[in-house]
């Protein structure tokens, strides 16, 4: 099993969700995060005091899938999250050793 961690622009979340659902996967966990990267931040000014804000709102999506499904998920995510401008985000794939569904106690592929 693998965990696919995806950082995308917040307004892309619905598109990505649909692309993944189209693959027949119905499970993901989403977190609001802030990203620092090549994409420039912006300036904020409060009563004459300037602040450079480097962190940009991003959305992190985590999907645990069987290893063999990783390539198709990567493909689907890339297509749905792409705008082509700096700041589109990253995908990280990491190993998962065990999965348990709390409700049933099922483990492994059955649990997702």
């Amino acid at each position: 099993m693998k965990k696919i961690e995806i950082i995308v622009r917040p307004f892309k979340i619905d598109d990505v969700k649909e692309a993944i659902a189209d693959l027949g996967l119905r499970g993901m966990t989403v977190t609001e995060v802030k990203g620092f990267g090549r994409q420039g931040g912006h300036k904020e000014v409060y009563r004459g005091a300037e602040y450079q804000v480097d962190f940009i709102a991003k959305t992190k999506i985590e999907i645990v899938v069987e290893a063999e499904r990783v390539p198709e998920v990567l493909e689907a995510v890339r297509n749905s999250a792409l705008t082509g401008k700096v700041g589109d985000g990253k995908i990280f794939v990491t190993p998962v050793e065990e999965v348990v569904r709390i409700r049933t106690g099922e483990t492994g592929p059955d649990a997702i």
Binding site: F11, E44, V53
Partner: protein
């Protein structure tokens, strides 16, 4: 000068002023989080901009010596001759300055109402230009026509506190604005969910509170008419609230908090032209009708596919229209409507509705087109994505 009336209208002026920050919150709560300050600002800045324009030129255009029924003369330019006593005051029981500032508060909130139509995508600079011009070429004439001795009032149109001057005019301008500026990016695809409804409810509470100054204050005296207008205003708001919740229920859903707030405002809009002319029981009908009609009004935008972001057309345009016509039906206090044997009043009201919509829509549309062609009305796509707060004001609403 009457001290009791002066006392009353001083406080009413403060109440009407308070409506603009109330409106700012009412609107901003419905916007998305990244546009919360931009939306507040579009209303709040009117307190600065329009107040000054009104004192310098707006007031005299509206209440200066009548020129051909269409506009006021320059005799009160820069408040010349507008003093602490009642001299020349259109309300001879009130200090002239007080009458001026009470009217000025109406002028402030009217362009603020329009901003709901183009929320989340209008350039701030263009907003300032548009609003400044609009006050001069749309609001001041409308105000003159109805209350300043102009043709509409002369023909007998009844508008107690601004059904035409404030609500229909802003509704018509709002319709022009949605058409000219176009939809928000992603409209219809992404979710445009209110970011802070408690803020909207607070705004609605402030609006309701301030509206007593608006409507009861329009009696310009602390008397029975004011008391009647106070009661009709309150009951219409109450009935509008219930009316909207009822349709929501019938329409297959749950009664919503936003619906309660919207219905109350719809009832308030509907009673505005009628407040001093109808009985409390008629006010219940008018408000109830307002709640139902404005609910219908907001559905129009999906039908006709324009993006009136915060439903200015649906609520102020339609609510004001219903109120103006309802005044022609139900008037019975100091004037008679159809149901009290005077069908003519309804025709006069209809005429005022048509002329108000026509004039305000056309002139607003022209103004917007000209500004769009020169300065540009709309922020860039990137700015729209990042949000008005950062893009137009270099600020963020929340750091929670």
């Amino acid at each position: 000068m009457n001290a009791a009336d002066t006392s009353f209208i001083l406080i009413c002026s403060a109440l009407v002023m308070f409506m603009t920050p109330g409106l700012a919150l009412f609107y901003a709560g419905m916007a998305r989080s990244k546009n919360v300050l931009g939306t507040i600002m579009q209303s709040f800045v009117m307190l600065g901009l329009v107040s000054i324009i009104w004192a310098v030129i707006g007031y005299t255009l509206a209440f200066g010596d009548d020129i051909g029924g269409f506009i006021g003369g320059m005799n009160f330019f820069a408040l010349d001759g507008v003093g602490m006593d009642t001299l020349n005051s259109p309300a001879d029981n009130l200090p002239h300055l007080l009458f001026m500032v009470f009217q000025g508060m109406f002028a402030v909130i009217t362009p603020a109402l329009i901003t709901g139509a183009f929320a989340e995508r209008m350039k701030f600079k263009s907003l300032l230009i548009f609003s400044s011009l609009w006050i001069i070429v749309v609001y001041a004439p409308m105000c003159h026509w109805v209350w300043g001795g102009g043709w509409m009032g002369e023909r007998g149109a009844l508008d107690f506190a601004g059904g035409a001057v404030v609500h229909m005019s802003s509704g018509a301008a709002a319709l022009a604005a949605c058409l000219v500026i176009g939809k928000r990016k992603g409209y219809g695809k992404q979710s445009f969910i209110p970011h802070n409804l408690p803020m909207t409810l607070l705004g609605a509470g402030i609006l309701w509170f301030g509206w007593f100054g608006f409507n009861a204050g329009s009696a310009l005296a602390a008397n029975g008419v004011a008391a009647n207008a106070f009661v009709t205003t309150h009951l219409a708001a109450a009935a509008g609230l219930l009316g909207w919740l009822l349709v929501e229920g019938i329409h297959g859903g749950k009664p919503t908090t936003l619906g309660a707030a919207s219905g109350a405002v719809a009832g308030l809009v509907a009673i505005t032209p009628a407040a001093g002319f109808v009985t409390p029981m008629a006010a219940i009908l008018i408000g109830f009708g307002g709640g139902i009609i404005c609910y219908g009004g907001i559905l129009l935008k999906s039908k006709f596919k324009y993006d009136d972001s915060l439903d200015v057309v649906g609520i102020h345009g339609l609510g004001g229209t219903w109120g103006a016509l309802a005044t022609g039906l139900f008037a019975s206090v100091g004037a008679e409507g159809l149901f009290y044997g005077n069908p003519e009043q309804l025709w006069i009201q209809l005429e005022s509705v048509i002329c108000t919509w026509g004039y305000c829509f056309v002139v607003s549309w022209i103004l917007l087109k000209v500004i769009d062609a020169t300065v540009g009305l709309r922020v860039t796509e990137d700015e729209e994505i990042i949000g008005l707060d950062v893009a137009e004001h270099s600020e963020a609403g929340y750091q929670l």
